[in-house]
């Protein structure tokens, strides 16, 4: 036990004192914020572009329908022959040309769009809607239906989503749940890969340094392996804690700037919302506050530790099986695969249906459960599902660590050989 503590201490200090660790801890939040800012800036730049779209309307019905907007200007070219209009659009570098043929009522399919490149989906939908609306109106009038009456009769329904505990949610809050769940799952995957790799590199380092035999003459290989895994995980938790701290400081500062008192806005208090100048932002803030942030953080730690132990034991065994980092490729694929699967299941299945059977199954399978379950948690997961998932994870951990330790024990003393899967299997029996 004393030795385990010494090893953990050494491994922890070796990770935390590393320059890359220090830089990454403080730089990556900045990079993240910077990236969001850049994306926001670029998309603003993109939409501020001026577009001119030519309109060639043989029916002469739509010229008044296509109204100029902030970024889109329509130019009526209907007078000229079609070929000339196309040539002009092309030469003038306009965005495109809408062609509406005669006899539209019988020939709805005949509408065409000419452009140098295929237009954005949004643009096409807007054009289709404009034409369809006009045609619908024509038809209604034809059949003697009063358009104003119809509009009055149209009823809008907005479903208010509420769980049994009486907490109100909105569509917006579903997006926020996805965002936070997805971010937590993704972060967990990155943590597992980054810290698992650290464990692997440190095993390889000890092998190539040839210090390993000196150490295992003092401690048991499994102690060394566990010390390494634990020490490195503490470094990971340190990094996570620093990030949570930074995020909290940032959040509290921004709440303060927006004028929201987080201590009064506990459970969606609409009165407070109304007092605020920007109600949308306030609603967003309330949705965020209503997220089970605390349980998300706690389960992030639980699943980080569980998932990280599982994977880093495998990483340690891989490190022991090879002689240099370049030899690790053949073993990396089976490790990355379940992680990627977890992410994809999370992004496709959980978002579609957070409590569907696929999401539930993958949040139980130990190799994917840390990621998938984390993505599900913001949507509310029953405690017994969490208990089963964590339970399976813990049991699997024992099994995998036991197997990994066997490979590790043999591998660290094998020099100059690149092991095959067959050999790894043999090592289990040594």
């Amino acid at each position: 036990m004393r030795n385990l503590k010494l090893i953990i201490q050494r491994e922890y200090l070796a990770r935390v004192r590393n320059k890359t660790f220090i830089i990454m801890t403080f730089l990556s939040p900045l990079i993240l914020v910077g990236m969001f800012a850049l994306i926001a800036y670029l998309s603003m730049l993109n939409s501020s572009e001026q577009r001119i779209i030519g309109l060639y309307d043989e029916t002469e019905m739509f010229a008044s329908e296509f109204k100029d907007q902030e970024h889109v200007q329509y130019l009526d070219l209907s007078g000229k022959p079609l070929e000339e209009a196309k040539k002009m659009v092309n030469e003038q570098d306009y965005y495109g040309l809408i062609y509406i043929p005669e006899n539209l009522n019988n020939n709805v399919e005949g509408v065409q769009f000419f452009g140098k490149e295929s237009p954005g989906l949004g643009t096409i939908q807007a054009i289709e809607k404009t034409i369809a609306d006009r045609l619908t109106r024509e038809k209604l009038i034809e059949r003697g239906i009063d358009v104003n009456q119809l509009n009055e009769a149209r009823t809008e329904v907005r479903i208010e989503i509420q769980n049994f505990a009486g907490e109100r949610t909105s569509k917006m809050s579903n997006y926020i749940k996805m965002f936070f769940g997805g971010a937590a799952g993704y972060l967990l995957m990155m943590f597992i890969i980054i810290y698992g790799n650290m464990v692997m590199r440190s095993v390889i380092e000890e092998k190539t340094n040839r210090i390993i035999e000196i150490i295992v003459s003092s401690v048991k290989p499994i102690q060394l392996m566990m010390g390494k895994v634990l020490g490195t995980s503490l470094a990971g938790i340190t990094q996570f804690a620093i990030w949570v701290l930074l995020a909290s400081v940032l959040a509290i500062t921004s709440f303060y700037v927006l004028g929201i008192d987080i201590f009064t806005v506990q459970k969606s208090q609409l009165e407070t919302v109304e007092q605020i100048a920007q109600p949308e932002i306030a609603q967003l803030v309330i949705d965020v506050i209503n997220l089970p942030i605390l349980s998300l953080v706690i389960f992030f730690l639980i699943y980080f530790i569980g998932g990280y132990f599982l994977y880093s034991a495998i990483y340690a065994a891989i490190g022991a099986a090879v002689d240099s980092e370049t030899d690790t490729q053949q073993f990396m694929f089976p490790v990355i695969l379940p992680l990627m699967l977890g992410i994809y299941v999370g992004f496709f299945s959980v978002i579609e249906n957070p409590h569907g059977s696929i999401s539930t199954i993958f949040s139980m399978i130990p190799l994917t459960s840390p990621i998938v379950m984390l993505m599900r948690i913001p949507f509310g997961v029953p405690w017994w599902e969490l208990a089963i998932s964590v339970g399976i994870l813990i049991v699997t951990n024992f099994g995998v660590i036991w197997l990994a330790a066997k490979i590790y024990r043999v591998g660290i003393l094998m020099y100059g050989k690149k092991a095959s899967y067959k050999e790894l299997f043999k090592w289990l029996k040594y």
């Binding site: 010494l6 070796a14 380092e205 000890e206 035999e213 000196i214 003459s217 040594y430």
Partner: protein
């Protein structure tokens, strides 16, 4: 208890390969024991078993008469053949860490390290990183770490490989010094001259089997073939040679001599003594040189290994 370490009927298999087949050795307290064998014979596996790095499939190791226990690592110092240190860790920190893994307290380890650093005149290295040191320098540190916790049993696997002559000499002297202070030393090597020089006892392992063991002097006695190296001066060397050839098995040899000698090895027949040979030679020639041929460890090694091949 006469023997500090006894390994009894050690058997170890890796898959289908038998690394050690029923090997036993006994190391008397206070002696230097040489474990000999060609590369791949199983020496390192045996050392690893003694260090509890690998577990034997069968057999038992006793230290001081009791079966080996995990806490015995505090009584054993091991310098493996494949040795190195953390490249990016400071020398002092690293030595302290490894010493504490052996069970020393922090203050104790620090005191002893300071003593050794002073002794080997490397006080200035404490805050250096291993990557700043030369290989020979790093080897000194490794040696210090091996002996720092004053183990009863010191195990060196190929201690002189990779050492330059200056450091090899230094390590040799330290080993002898440690023996004088009461330590028992086991080292494995395939360099025979170091066995000749240092070892009281030896064991020879070849292809996973122990072929030979015992006191070095006794083994040599057992292996000598009643052969003598002589330098003879006579009026007719050719006639003398022919005469001797009829009576004995004669071999060629070479040694330094200022005389114009006939240089021969003479193997006596069973039951004959050197005195009888001298009696026989005295009347025939002037005897400038007469030495018993004692087999070197190298000769014994080669002879045993080729016999069993």
């Amino acid at each position: 208890m006469e023997n500090l370490l006894v390994a009894e009927n050690i058997y170890k298999q890796f898959g289908n390969f038998t690394a050690l087949n029923n090997v036993s050795i006994a190391i008397p307290r206070g002696s230097i024991f040489g474990l000999l064998g060609p590369n791949g014979a199983g020496k390192t596996t045996l050392l690893r078993i003694i260090n509890q790095i690998t577990m034997p499939d069968k057999g038992q190791v006793y230290l001081d008469g009791t079966p080996l226990h995990p806490k015995d690592i505090a009584h054993i110092g091991y310098l493996p053949e494949e040795r190195g240190l953390y490249k990016s860790m400071k020398v002092g920190e690293q030595a302290l860490y490894l010493a504490r893994l052996k069970g020393l307290s922090k203050t104790e380890a620090k005191e002893r390290l300071e003593y050794w650093f002073e002794k080997l005149q490397i006080e200035g290295w404490w805050d250096k990183k291993i990557q700043e040191l030369s290989k020979g320098m790093a080897q000194k540190i490794q040696f210090i770490i091996t002996v720092l916790h004053r183990p009863k049993l010191l195990i060196f696997d190929e201690p002189f490989s990779g050492f330059d002559p200056v450091n090899a000499g230094l390590i040799k002297n330290e080993i002898l010094q440690l023996k004088k202070e009461g330590a028992t030393i086991l080292f494995s090597t395939h360099r025979m001259e170091s066995v000749e020089e240092l070892c009281d006892y030896m064991a020879l392992i070849h292809q996973s089997n122990k072929l030979l063991d015992g006191k070095v002097s006794e083994i040599k006695r057992a292996y000598k073939s009643n052969t003598y190296e002589v330098g003879l001066e006579s009026e007719n060397n050719t006639a003398l040679l022919n005469e001797l050839k009829e009576k004995f098995v004669i071999g060629n040899t070479n040694f330094k001599s200022i005389n114009d000698d006939l240089k021969l090895t003479i193997q006596l027949n069973n039951g004959e003594t050197p005195n009888q040979l001298l009696d026989y030679l005295i009347g025939k020639a002037r005897i400038n040189h007469f030495v018993e041929v004692i087999p070197s460890v190298n000769d014994i090694f080669i002879k045993t290994v080729t016999q069993n091949a």
